[in-house]
């Protein structure tokens, strides 16, 4: 279980998170929605300890994430970054197999390569892509390589930051199914950030909406349409008029 407790975070005068509290049960899929620039990516980075919150706590399985063995903590996570964040000095398969080529999960290179090619296939990429470099791929392909890297070591907890942004509708469908599979078959805990309402319905067990630095609404995806929450309604129907200002 992951719990964010009353998290505050400012960058200079920009008060991004203002007491965000969120709970994600083990083995469930949480989707965070919210306008761009509301701090969704920052929230995921705070859970991983990449950004230090100004106040508040992160609990993973009841233990404070700021204490304890950081390597063991990170070994449980996989993360797809919003921009892909592929290492451009390494080929595609070396990116995907990064964890399997060094450190505690190290395996022989041929085996790591085979795993990488299998993961690439799962995100809809052909084996020929394995030896290309990230700069030779389109944005959507880079995103999928990032996804393959996030799942390569089969982590228990996976974060997906906008996994389908920049993909065509068919590929989005493939990725949505993949994320669903990872949660159902591997029993992983997932947090996904997305703006794509089709994805939300395909991936989510639970939905949380971040606005003004706090979670404005959270609940099972089945209750999303009848929440009666004006913020959530405006967001899921994409209306320009409503309590959320269009200029932010």
């Amino acid at each position: 279980m992951i719990r964010m407790e009353n998290i505050h975070k400012s960058f200079g005068n920009n008060h991004v998170l203002r007491g965000m509290t969120l709970e994600v049960e083990k083995g469930t899929s949480m989707v965070i929605i919210g306008g761009s620039g509301t701090g969704k990516s920052v929230a995921l980075k705070i859970i991983l300890g990449l950004i230090k919150p100004d106040s508040g706590r992160i609990l993973v399985d009841g233990k404070d994430a700021a204490t304890g063995d950081r390597d063991a903590f990170l070994a449980r996570f996989g993360m797809l970054f919003q921009g892909g964040a592929l290492f451009d000095s390494l080929s595609v398969w070396q990116n995907v197999a990064f964890r399997l080529l060094r450190g505690s999960l190290k395996r022989p290179p041929e085996e790591a390569r085979a795993v990488a090619i299998e993961k690439l296939r799962r995100v809809g990429l052909k084996p020929e892509v394995a030896d290309l470099f990230p700069a030779e791929l389109s944005g959507g392909m880079q995103k999928r390589v990032g996804l393959a890297r996030a799942i390569a070591a089969e982590p228990e907890i996976i974060f997906f930051d906008e996994p389908t942004t920049g993909l065509d509708p068919i590929m989005s469908g493939v990725i949505n199914e993949l994320i669903r599979e990872i949660v159902v078959e591997m029993g992983a805990t997932a947090i996904t950030i997305t703006h794509d309402m089709t994805s939300v319905r395909a991936i989510a067990d639970n939905v949380a909406m971040l606005h003004d630095g706090v979670i404005k609404w959270t609940g099972p995806v089945s209750e999303m349409d009848n929440s009666g929450d004006p913020y959530l309604d405006q967001f899921i129907h994409g209306r320009a008029e409503g309590p959320i200002e269009a200029v932010r």
Partner: protein, 260 residues
């Protein structure tokens, strides 16, 4: 401006630079501690050795040969004013080995290596590659910084040695071709005149300048602000800092080796 405000500004500036020196020192200590502790990344170390050492040879060689040649011409012209033209081999040797070799190689490394390290690491920072490294259980200091600092520590003394030899060769070529020196006598004078201390100081300076150059590239890269502008600022700052620190360190090391 009233005196209190002026004093306050001075205080802020002083505290600011002290804090910067403190952060750089902590950064350097962490880099060295990671050089010594496993895991090691042989591929990264090999790439850094290649980039910092081998691929810098052309620029170092060209810098040294022209400088050695110009030095010989100047010493000849200057020396002839009081009938001391014959000191060309000795002064070229001392000038190259003690000062110009290490300083010019150091500055070329700052231009070539510091800037590229800073731009590369800053870009990685800006595109979340550093964050990705951390989430893949890899320490950025160990993976990115330790190999570069280690490679510079090993390779820059080597480059300085090469620069010294090529600089002396440049002086020799000009001396023998244009200034009428006897080839064998020129070499004999050079070898006789140089002391062990000259060579040791040259290589020691190379090691110090290499570490400074690599550390500044890494430090400014890791501290980069966001966006293309952040990368630009990081690169500029790293080269400025490396060049100034190299010249300052040269002054201190010359004092240590030659005035004690």
């Amino acid at each position: 401006m009233n005196p209190i405000a002026a004093l306050e500004r001075l205080g802020h500036a002083t505290l600011g630079s002290l804090a910067l020196v403190g952060r750089m020192t902590i950064f350097a200590l962490s880099a060295f501690s990671h050089i010594l502790r496993p895991p090691f990344y042989p591929r990264e170390i090999a790439m850094a050795l290649l980039n910092i050492g081998w691929l810098s040879l052309p620029v170092v060689g060209l810098t040294a040969i022209f400088t050695g040649g110009a030095l010989a011409l100047q010493i000849y012209a200057g020396g002839s004013r009081f009938n001391a033209e014959s000191v060309v081999p000795q002064i070229v040797a001392i000038g190259m080995v003690r000062e110009l070799g290490p300083v010019l190689v150091g500055l070329m490394i700052a231009a070539r290596v510091t800037s590229s390290i800073a731009a590369e690491i800053a870009t990685m920072k800006v595109t979340e590659q550093i964050d990705a490294l951390v989430t893949l259980s890899t320490h950025p200091v160990k993976y990115l910084i330790a190999p570069r600092v280690l490679a510079a520590l090993v390779m820059v003394p080597f480059l300085v040695g090469v620069g010294d030899v090529i600089g002396i060769a440049g002086g020799y070529a000009v001396g023998v071709q244009n200034l009428g020196f006897n080839a064998a006598a020129y070499l004999q004078n050079t070898v006789d005149f140089l002391e062990m201390r000259d060579v040791v100081s040259s290589l020691a300076k190379g090691a110090a300048f290499g570490v400074i150059a690599a550390l500044m590239g890494c430090y400014y890269g890791m501290e980069s602000g966001r966006g293309a502008q952040g990368v630009g600022r990081a690169t500029k700052g790293s080269v400025e800092a490396a060049a100034i620190l190299i010249l300052a360190a040269n002054f201190v090391l010359t004092g240590v080796f030659f005035s004690l």
